[in-house]
Amino acid sequence: MSAIFQAIVARKPRSGSVLDPAFRAVTRFFAILVLGLVLAILGALIAGAWPALHEFGWSFLTTDAWNPVTETFGALAPIYGTLITSLIAMLIGIPVSFGIALYVTELAPRWLKRPIASAIELLAAIPSIIYGMWGLFVLAPLLANVVQPWVIDHIGDWPLIGVLFSGPPLGIGMFTAGLILAIMVIPFITAVMKDVFEVVPDVQKESAYALGATTWEVMHHVVLPYTRTGVVGGIMLGLGRALGETMAVTFVIGNANHINASLFMPGNTISSAIANEFNEASGEIYTSSLIALGLVLFVITCIVLGGARLMLARMEREK
């Protein structure tokens, strides 16, 4: 320690006066570069999407005709698919992630914590195409042969929600895609939740326990309020991944440009539509419509992130 101190003191004062501003300039340049990059991407997307937006106007967002032969394009089906699959992923992913993070930080015996944490990190590192293949070859048959027939028989007739679980048990479709996405986002959300739960000062938790609070009450009244920003951030990270995920979804969603009430029917998402069709898209309007899809995804992501910021800001104010 003292060696470093001596070195700093002994250093010629001049070197810092040149290097510090240079360092600041370089870091500022990098930071601005990121901002510029986002704007450049947005600009390129708008320029590329312009012919399609000019041709179709708002009907691009409100119709579900996706017909390369007649060159009429509407993005409603992929938008619907993107939102629904992400919603399913969040509905399943958030509670499970919360449970895992809670168990690892509060309840698990010490010897089990590390293996679970490592397993979660490992899951996060698996490339998405592996999830896709696993989904198609393992999960889809399981759903088609076991889960979906049972659900269709037992829930398919219920009023209101029955229609969500009707149709033939294909094993591929929106529900399967949502399930795969849930499995993919769980490691992300869990890792962030676990990390932020761990930074809660032990003193606060122990005080609550000392007052006779249960684990759940400590979680609800001490840990969650303390870590709100981090938890929401982790969820947003997962949602971002779910919205943009391409390969795994393409494998299992069935890639059909239709809007179906039933979750068991095939659908499409924005990113998998682009991945499927961009290579062979011929003609200005077709290519431009696919870029417009990209722009829509960009805007959706911005809205989600912006919404999260607003929500956080409101929470801060209420506190």
Binding site: T250, N255, A256, S272, N276, E277, N279, E280, A281, S282
Partner: protein, 357 residues
């Protein structure tokens, strides 16, 4: 227009990469060492095999990037490659506009494959009309009277038909939908023929592989794949009724029959889609894969070398093609192709590039 050009450039950069651009640069072509082509995925295995044999014989290397037919057309228009390849032929006007020459290189067939418990490959018989209605979703059960009528000997279950189609744009889809448009008025009116269409029913799989795995997965499904793919995976191919009224199986022989019956002489710019061809033995969903080169190339020596390569393949590659379950072009067609080379492909001074010295 500008946007389109930018797009082409972007695609070129993204797909081919810098290395290819370096290798393919025209100019110092005193001895052509490397040829660059890009396009259709369907003929890729046979081009690769030919290229390997050709390199061993002549030392000339062929780089073929299987980026898809649409990509192949874009690349050759942008002149980033020496030749493009497409499963769907360009129309004579399009060729004229882009200054391109087109010729068929290899043939194959598209085969409907069904997965139905108790039905063996080659047992199910369909007509084009019924196939179109299955894909339109109007015939949606296997025990539909129209299917039963064609298959009195089969015990067809009361099972829903799950239609499988390609989710990516594809030359295979083009050939298939072209056939359906020819045999079904409803299909032509409502859907049409293209590399990607607005499918009224079913599930989309990516690539032949995707369609095949969905068909294998789902009992009661029907899809369409390249012949080689159906054969190598032992899939449940169907018999189809051809224009002459006979039920035929997809084989080398029936593909060749379709090509032989075709009227190449009047096909301007070799615009020929071999679907629904006359002939007692013709397989109705046959298609050729095409090569595109510039009429007045800026890199004449490269293009000349491309012609040499395909000339060699026409005359020496039949066996290799057959081994991979492709169908080589009949010699009568090859003769026409080489005549067309001589007439329309010119060097910078206006001299024909073919026959090559």
């Amino acid at each position: 227009m500008i946007m389109e050009k930018i797009m082409h450039k972007l695609l070129a950069a993204a797909l081919i990469g810098g290395a290819l651009a370096l290798l393919g640069s025209p100019g110092h072509a005193a001895d052509v060492k490397t040829l660059n082509g890009a396009g259709a995925t369907f003929p890729y295995p046979v081009y690769a095999k030919w290229a390997d044999a050709y390199q061993q014989k002549t030392g000339v290397k062929l780089n073929y990037q299987a980026i898809g037919s649409g990509g192949g057309v874009k690349q050759i228009e942008a002149k980033t490659v020496d030749f493009g390849a497409s499963d769907a032929p360009l129309k004579a006007e399009e060729l004229q506009q882009a200054g391109l020459v087109q010729f068929p290189a290899i043939m194959g067939g598209v085969v409907p494959v069904a997965h139905l418990e108790g039905v063996e490959p080659g047992q199910l018989r369909l007509t084009g009309d019924v196939l179109a209605d299955i894909y339109l979703g109007t015939v949606d059960h296997w025990d539909d009277p129209r299917i039963k009528e064609l298959n009195p000997n089969l015990d067809l279950p009361d099972k829903r038909i799950t239609v499988i189609h390609r989710s990516d744009g594809s030359g295979t889809t083009f050939i298939f939908t072209n056939y359906l448009s020819k045999v079904s008025g409803d299909w032509k009116k409502n859907i049409g023929a293209a590399k990607a269409v607005s499918w009224p029913a079913g599930v989309g799989g990516k690539g032949n592989q995707g369609v095949a795995s969905y068909v294998e997965r789902i009992d009661g499904s029907i899809g369409y794949v390249e012949y080689a793919y159906a054969l190598q995976n032992n899939m449940g191919y169907t018999l189809l009724k051809n224009r002459a009224g006979h039920f035929v199986a997809p084989t080398q022989e029936t593909f060749k029959a379709a090509a032989a019956g075709a009227d190449w002489q009047h096909a301007q710019g070799f615009y020929m889609i071999l679907t629904d061809q006359p002939g007692a033995k013709s397989w109705p969903i046959t298609g050729a894969s095409f090569i595109l080169v510039h009429k007045k190339p800026t890199n004449p020596r490269q293009v000349q070398a491309v012609l040499k390569f395909f000339d060699w393949a026409y005359h020496n590659g039949d066996q290799m093609a057959a081994e991979l379950d492709y169908v080589p072009m009949p010699q009568s067609v090859v003769k026409r192709v080489e005549q067309a080379w001589q007439q329309s492909i010119k060097g910078t001074a206006g001299q024909p590039l073919w026959p090559a010295k």
